[in-house]
Amino acid sequence: MIKPLIQALVIAVAALQVAQAQAPAAAPAAPAPAANVTAAAPATAPTLDGRIQDVKGDVIKLNRDLLVLEEELLFPASTQVALFVSMDVGKLFSLESVQIKLDDKVVSNYLYTPLEVAALHRGGVQRIHVGNLKAGTHELVAFFTGQGPHERDYKRGATIKFDKGTDPKYIELQIKDSTGKLQPEFDVKVWQ
């Protein structure tokens, strides 16, 4: 009586579906010639999805141009100074926050989320500050706060004097592990 009802479900489930990482976006269209690698797929009608991808592409390019304009306008190369934070291994130090002073003026007070710390661990380099400085000698002081070996509160500073010329200046604050001393180390690298 009811049993036929189950058939639909049985067929639906038992028709084993291949677990796919990605289902094909559309049914195969006419194959594109594969004479060389640059040969593009054949032009398709502007579907809604296609038009959405187009607009995404346009907005991404626009964002690039806007970012370039913003940087050139706000931080011209002749006065630009960019500060970066990186972490090499970082097993001996669990970063919580960084404070940076340029010529005795605080330019950044940054509190890290676990996700950001993980991003630094994986090799990301954070551009923590971009600003403008006149040509001449300047002093940078950075304070790193977190937990050091044996989960003790740890605060360390790093200082550097640097000359700013007419090219942009990139300075990287590096957090490293000193396996010899079993202590974290804080270095400053000035990129040429």
Partner: protein, 636 residues
């Protein structure tokens, strides 16, 4: 209420993260162990900045920052890797064409084998996703032996999927089998797909055995548990079809009680028991199903399966009551579905979803976590489980992000425009003062004075005119000597003055000797001062030239900035209505996808209601026949 992540979607996202992460790795040939662990040695800090955003999951910021840094030429040390990363990120946004062009360009460029192999891999993937299977197979065939290990399994899966797509199940099974043989710990996906491929290629026993093993394997995460459940449900229903209800029950029992597959498993378990003529045992899972969300077809079927079991047990009265309850419930459900459809068409679904699922950026690694507050929201769980709906909604959400992004930039551009105007005004105000200051300095007059001084220094040197460098004391002495000598001269040749004359002569000689002795040092000092004057003059000329150049350049520069701001503003203004229009269209599409699913649910309800009515009629018939039999029976 929370929904589970749609497994294929999660798999896709995880695969893309891995694939794109691989694009960031293996940058430098010479690396330390630590660098290996981290995957990349950053040689341009701005490339590291891109990775920072990438690892934070801010993919839109990562790709736009990367493109800006490429424009500035500051990721040159990672040029190819940066392109791989850009291609991967664009691919993740569905920009197949751009991504394909990037990978093809990398291959054409003759990059390092590791980059080339990844580019072929991505091209194969793009072509597969777009349904160009033959071209995808051609691309995958060109991958060499430098593909990162992390992508090897995905490559095998992709290749197997391509073989399955052209129904070459045996080849897919051979491929996956070979891959499994080499691998110590193959993923659940690979094993599942191999099981499916084997069954489809006719090797039902081997395929079933593989799925059976998979169905008993301990799982580490939700994705694996879901696949394990899926394998067990598939095996269970296949056994039911083959009239092997005992086997069906055994494998269906392995499915978790709360999972995407549990309703199907409970239903199947009930039918297996019913097949074994154990309706009482069938009632256990079916009664459990009655407590569950009615939008699931298994739950709906349970509503008529339960009275079926009662009828089988001979409890016709309860069966009839249950059937009538089911019919009433189906009607209520149908009416609620109509309300849900109306609410969806009124836009409440998308508004609710957006409100409850905020996200910072556009991205593929995102899924619906919270269901919206809607009347009879339970119907929507099935809607959200659909890959197609999730993708369509993600596109809608992306468009909302783009709209906000454009609005933010429009505001910023306004500020930049004002800032530029202020700069121009300040420049215009300062310019006269600067010009006056510059005009006040007569560089040519200074130059003439310098030239005269230089000529004098030269003359003194030539003529050895030591007196020219006499200091104040020496000049005073020279004056006094001159007046003494003049007085002595006026007094004639008086012999009594001979000692004074001699003293005057000696003093003059001593002075001349002193100045002559000091001449080289003073001459050197004079030349040194001349050089300082030359340097200062050059600086003055340079500054003067810079001011003159700035007077020419700065207005041009400001005009260029102003023109760029206008041009970018125009582009924003062109994109805003496009995004708005596409949002409207996409909203319609998302809503219609949801409505279509609800309509399907309604149709299912109608079928079940018909079946229930038919069963009720049968029960009445049975009762009537029984009554007639009773009536016909001789009365005692």
């Amino acid at each position: 209420m929370r929904t589970s992540v749609h497994p294929p979607l999660k798999r896709l996202a995880a695969g893309l993260v891995l694939a794109v992460a691989c694009a960031a790795a293996w940058a430098a040939p010479a690396k330390t162990d630590a660098a290996d662990e981290k995957g990349v040695v950053v040689q341009d800090p701005h490339y590291g900045d891109v990775l920072f955003h990438f690892y934070k999951g801010r993919y839109f910021t990562a790709v736009t920052t990367l493109m800006a840094s490429q424009q500035f030429g500051r990721v040159a040390q990672h040029a190819d890797e940066a392109e791989m990363l850009r291609g991967g990120l664009l691919l993740s946004y569905g920009l197949h064409k751009e991504a394909g062009e990037i990978f093809a360009a990398l291959i054409d460029k003759g990059v390092a084998p590791s980059v080339r192999d990844r580019a072929w891999f991505f091209l194969a993937k793009i072509r597969y996703q777009r349904g160009f299977y033959a071209q995808a197979e051609e691309a995958i065939g060109r991958i060499g032996d430098k593909l990162p290990k992390q992508l090897e399994e995905e490559r095998a899966l992709l290749q197997a999927n391509l073989l399955l797509a052209r129904a070459d199940y045996a080849a897919a099974a051979t491929l996956l089998n070979g891959y499994l043989a080499d691998k110590k710990d193959p993923s659940f996906f690979t094993r599942y797909n191999l099981g499916v491929a084997l069954i489809r290629s006719g090797e039902i026993e081997r395929g079933s055995a593989l799925l059976d093993t998979l169905g008993k394997t301990p799982a580490d995460n939700e994705e694996q548990r879901t696949l394990r459940d899926k394998a067990n449900v598939a095996l269970g229903f296949a056994a039911l079809q083959d009239q092997r209800p005992e086997v069906a029950r055994t494998v269906l029992e392995r499915v978790r009680l709360k999972s995407l597959q549990s309703n199907k498993a409970l239903l199947g378990f009930g039918w297996a028991s019913a097949s074994l003529k154990e309706p009482k045992r069938a009632l256990v899972p079916w009664m459990e199903l009655l407590e569950r969300d009615a939008s699931d077809s298994a739950v709906l079927e349970a509503r008529i399966a339960v009275p079926y079991a009662y009828a089988e047990l001979g409890a016709y009265g309860q069966a009839l009551e249950r059937y009538n309850d089911a019919i009433a419930q189906f009607e209520r459900e149908a009416s609620q579905l109509d309300q849900s459809i109306a609410a969806i068409r009124a836009g409440k679904l998308l508004a609710g979803l957006m409100e409850r699922n905020p996200g910072e950026e556009m991205g593929w690694f995102w899924n619906i976590k919270e269901l919206p507050e809607m009347p009879h929201g339970g119907h929507l769980a099935q809607v959200f489980a659909q890959h197609e709906f999730q993708e369509a909604f993600k596109n809608f959400r992306d468009l909302q992000f783009l709209a906000k992004n454009l609005a933010d930039w429009q505001d910023n551009l306004g500020v930049y425009g004002d800032m530029l105007d202020n700069r121009r005004n300040a420049y215009a105000q300062r310019l006269p003062a600067v010009r006056a200051q510059a005009a006040a300095v007569d560089i040519e007059a200074l130059q003439k004075r310098r030239d005269a001084a230089a000529a004098e220094v030269a003359r003194v040197e030539t003529e050895q005119d030591a007196a020219a460098y006499a200091d104040a004391r020496q000049r005073a002495l020279m004056e006094r000597l001159a007046s003494v000598q003049a007085a002595l001269q006026a007094m004639g040749n008086d012999p009594a003055l001979a000692p004074q004359r001699e003293r005057a002569r000696l003093a003059a000689g001593a002075l001349t000797w002193e100045m002559a002795r000091q001449l080289p040092e003073r001459s050197w000092e004079a030349k040194k001062q001349l050089r300082t004057i030359d340097a200062n003059l050059a600086q003055v000329r340079e500054r003067d030239a810079a001011i003159a150049q700035a007077q020419k350049d700065e207005p041009v520069r400001q005009e260029k900035f102003a023109a760029r701001i206008v041009e970018l503003d125009q582009r924003i203004k062109g994109l805003v209505p496009r995004v708005a229009e596409l949002s409207r269209e996409q909203q319609g599409q998302v809503q219609e996808l949801a409505v279509a699913e609800l309509v399907r649910q309604k149709e299912r309800l109608a079928i079940y209601a018909t079946q229930a009515r038919y069963a009720v009629a049968q029960l009445y018939d049975r009762a009537n026949v029984a009554k007639k039999d009773d009536d016909a029976a001789p009365k005692q």
